[in-house]
């Protein structure tokens, strides 16, 4: 895949996403002018960009959609629900083709047929006008006249072959456009590629020309052929010039059925978004043109450069002096590429000039182009009035590698305190130790800031996850026959990329659940005295260092009694226990694995793969799920997730032979308790801290480390676990450090009590404890 295609694919996905979003909003508010303009712009830009690749079916379909949108904008046709459906289907098809391009670099074989079909369905909606893609000269012809060009013998032979092959005999009428050579087209070459060619006639239009004034570069021929080949193949071969040819079937009696002409080809007219790509292409062409040499490769290169430049001009809607391209190309073939390079360079300058103001409204696609932009390019307002700052599209892998480097930096800097200690203890240089500590403080601060900055880069808005829901809700609500109004708020709330990604599946499930189980049918709602249209509210906001997501519906709510009954029925707990549960606790039974209250499993939410999966997924990223509900009023599921996977500050302690870390946010204080201060209460120990009795836990017992010899004083780390204080007896306190906490992996993942491990500056591994699980 060329790098150009690599860049086109994510851009195409963006345009499609924008278009779909506009379309859905437009369905609700058909009169919004700004929406139709944004929609048009996305489709138009997509059309232009696609014209640079060998994907005419793609471009043709997008073009048809664009023409329909123009008609809607001009208020010639209304934006009905059916039209929205058709446009969405078309966008889906184009999206599938983008995936195909991503996977294999090309369109699937049925693309031509599908494109023709959908384009036809779109174009049929257009108001009938004189607009047509037929070239100026006549294409209606009487069958007899047409066939009379061929000798009877030829026709007879062709018919026989067709019969033998059990295929209709096709009649091809191809009138290449005058300027087609400049577009790199070779009509005769194209026709000779027809494997099923039976008869061929090539004529000059308008009879024998005057040789003196004849322009060999202006195509002036008509080609007619009889072909026995599958129609799809012929259409595919002529996909670029579908508007210059027509294909009919020669009927048995020698007549001809109505020709089916191809749809209009990609139109000219570029938008600013094309310029960066065009610039890249031009640069490449200039380089190739300058490669020189005098071999056969030179001619092929020059021909290719010329063809590419011609296509570029067409895509941009620009032109050069007639014949100029051919002249300089011919000279280049003869060995002098100066003219060609000069021409291409002048185009380049035109592009650069056009780019400067255009840059303000498009995103920068490549750093190669960035130096052209004047440094104080204005910030223009985006569609919703948000100022669009300069945006860099960066490969995710680069950001990830930056993150890893910073993580290593954070770890390496931790070796400095160790060094400082060694300087003092081993080498007896206290001054050295102090200097190292000072430097460490500076480096520590810088590393932390860098870490924060890179974490910031990874922050994504939740809209990344939310934006698929309007479409999802629309499709599913129609399928279920329910009217659901989706409200989204707080989509700008941001969190770390990993967190955002982990939200996607759980949210889909929650939304589907709400639509399927939570929300009643319109009749049920009417009987209940509610409005027929249900509301589904998707909200996001920030609370402290957590990001909160809420999925709330105004449906039938969850009946605690029903849940109790089902839980007992599924043997999840005994009837007595169930009766003893409060309503909120009963509702939370939903989170138990194997639970599903829908008596009929709909194909949407599945069976029992329910809330427990959601909870597991959320807890995996250190989040929480909370569910509240009111019978008859609705249900609300609230997710709380950490804003970022940041660095954890831990307190190191020595216990027995090992070094352990305790997350600093749980640590209240460190104290030294005299042995006499420890009280025994039955089996447990405790001590008095100010006015409270704090239970004591001997860490060496918990962690199965050897016990240190009894001392007069015990080092106790007071921590808050699950709301109450607990004292942890350790051997020694060590310093607090920042670590990148890596969750336990592989076979260790199942061991309770550890939130993860971290790498220390001296290469040792620190096990960080999860007190909630340990105690």
């Amino acid at each position: 895949m060329t790098s150009l295609l690599e860049r086109f694919i994510p851009e195409a996905r963006d345009y499609l996403e924008q278009a779909a979003s506009c379309l859905l909003k437009l369905e609700r508010d058909p009169s919004a002018d700004s929406l139709i303009n944004d929609l048009f712009r996305s489709v138009h830009t997509l059309k232009g960009a696609s014209g640079l690749f060998d994907i005419p079916s793609f471009t043709r379909l997008v073009h048809a959609a664009e023409d329909v949108l123009v008609a809607v904008r001009e208020q010639q046709i209304p934006m009905t629900s059916a039209l929205v459906d058709l446009l969405l289907d078309s966008l889906d098809q184009v999206s599938a083709w983008v995936d195909a391009l991503d996977g294999s670099g090309g369109l699937p074989p049925e693309a031509d047929g599908l494109s023709a079909g959908l384009s036809q369905r779109l174009r049929v909606l257009l108001p009938q006008s004189e607009e047509s893609a037929v070239p100026a000269e006549v294409t209606t012809y009487a069958p007899q006249e047409w066939l009379a060009e061929f000798a009877a013998g030829e026709i007879g032979m062709a018919r026989a072959v067709a019969q033998e092959a059990d295929m209709p005999l096709l009649a091809l009428d191809y009138m290449p456009d005058e300027g087609c050579f400049y577009r790199g087209e070779d009509p005769v070459g194209l026709v000779l590629q027809l494997t099923g060619l039976q008869a061929l006639r090539i004529r000059l239009r308008g009879g024998q020309p005057d040789i003196a004034g004849f322009d060999p570069f202006r195509a002036g021929i008509v080609i007619r052929a009889l072909v026995v080949q599958p129609r799809q193949e012929v259409e595919h071969l002529f996909r670029y010039v579908a508007d210059q040819m027509s294909l009919g079937v020669v009927s048995a009696e020698g007549g001809q059925s109505a020709p089916a002409s191809g749809a209009a080809g990609p139109g000219a007219g570029a938008t600013a978004a094309l310029y960066p790509m065009a610039l890249r292409i031009l640069g490449e062409q200039i380089r190739i043109a300058g490669m020189g040499g005098d071999d056969e490769g030179l001619i092929r290169r020059i021909v290719s450069v010329e063809a590419t430049a011609a296509r570029l001009l067409t895509a941009l809607g620009w032109s050069v002096r007639e014949g100029e391209m051919a002249e300089v190309a011919a000279a280049a073939c003869a060995g002098n590429a100066a003219g060609l390079i000069a021409l291409l360079t002048s185009l380049e300058r035109r592009l650069e000039a056009a780019l400067a103001p255009a840059m303000a409204e498009t995103s920068l696609a490549a750093s190669a182009v960035s130096q052209i932009v004047p440094p104080d390019v204005a910030e223009t307002a985006g569609p919703e009035g948000r100022p669009l700052s300069k945006i860099l599209k960066v490969d995710q892998a680069k950001v990830d590698s930056l993150m890893n480097l910073i993580a290593e930096l954070v770890v390496s800097k931790n070796s400095l305190p160790f060094l400082a200690r060694r300087a003092e203890e081993v080498y007896g240089s206290r001054d050295m130790g102090r200097e190292i500590k000072d430097q460490y403080a500076v480096i520590d601060r810088l590393a932390q800031e860098m870490q924060r900055a890179i974490m910031d880069v990874r922050m994504l808005p939740v809209s990344e996850v939310f934006e698929r829901f309007p479409r999802l809700v629309r499709d599913i609500s129609r399928k279920l026959g329910k009217t659901i109004d989706l409200k989204i708020s707080g989509e700008d709330t941001a969190a770390d990329k990993t967190i955002i990604e982990s939200l996607s599946d759980p949210l889909i499930h929650l939304v589907r659940n709400a639509m399927d189980h939570g929300i009643e049918t319109p009749e049920q709602r009417r009987t209940a005295g509610k409005s027929e249209t249900a509301t589904l509210h998707l909200r996001a906001w920030q609370e402290g260092d957590q990001v909160m997501i809420e999925v709330a519906d105004d449906g039938r709510g969850i009946n605690a009694d029903i849940i109790r009954a089902k839980a007992v029925e599924r043997d999840l707990l005994t009837a007595e226990r169930a009766a003893g549960l409060g309503d909120q606790e009963a509702i939370n039974l939903i989170f138990l694995p194997g639970f599903s209250t829908a008596s009929k499993v709909s194909d949407l939410s599945g069976r029992g793969v329910g809330m427990d999966v959601v909870r597991t997924a959320i807890e995996k990223v250190n989040g929480q799920v909370m569910l509240t509900s009111e019978v008859g009023r609705g249900t609300s599921v609230r997710l709380s997730l950490p804003l970022s996977m940041a660095v954890t500050r831990v307190m190191m302690v020595e216990v027995g032979r090992g070094l352990y870390g305790l997350p600093m946010d749980g640590v209240v204080e460190t104290v030294k308790i005299p042995a006499s201060g420890i009280r025994r209460i039955k089996q447990a120990e405790a001590f008095v801290l100010r006015d409270a009795i704090v239970p004591l836990v001997r860490m060496h017992q918990l962690l199965e480390e050897p016990k240190a010899p009894d001392a007069e004083e015990e080092a106790v780390l007071v921590a808050r676990v699950g709301g109450s204080l607990v004292g942890l007896v350790v051997d020694r306190f060590r310093e607090g450090i920042d670590v990148i906490l890596k969750p336990m992996d592989g076979i260790l993942a199942g061991i309770r009590g550890y939130s993860g491990s971290a790498l220390l500056g001296d290469g040792r591994v620190l096990l960080v404890l999860n007190l909630k699980e340990l105690l």
Partner: protein, 84 residues
């Protein structure tokens, strides 16, 4: 160069691309009694076909490419001229 010019003969060999059309036309324009030899030609751009159809010089030689030989030669060597 694929298209070479002698005194009374133009030879089109191998790949004859669109740029050859102008030199070919100019040579044929001179009015001299020349012939065009297509022996060994593997590719002939439409522009050149067009020139040959317009000038209708004497064509000799058989193109190396089978499709050219089979389909184009008859059209270029036809004696009658049909208008559209």
């Amino acid at each position: 160069m694929p298209v070479t010019f002698g005194k009374t003969i133009v030879r089109c060999r191998d790949v004859c691309t669109v740029e050859e059309a102008l030199p070919l036309l100019e040579f044929l324009r001179t009015g001299r009694n020349v012939r065009v030899d297509l022996a060994g030609c593997t590719y002939l751009h439409t522009a050149l076909v067009q020139v040959l159809l317009a000038v209708r010089p004497r064509i000799t030689g058989r193109p190396a490419d089978p499709a050219l030989a089979r389909w184009l030669m008859p059209l270029l060597t036809e004696s009658a001229v049909h208008a559209v």
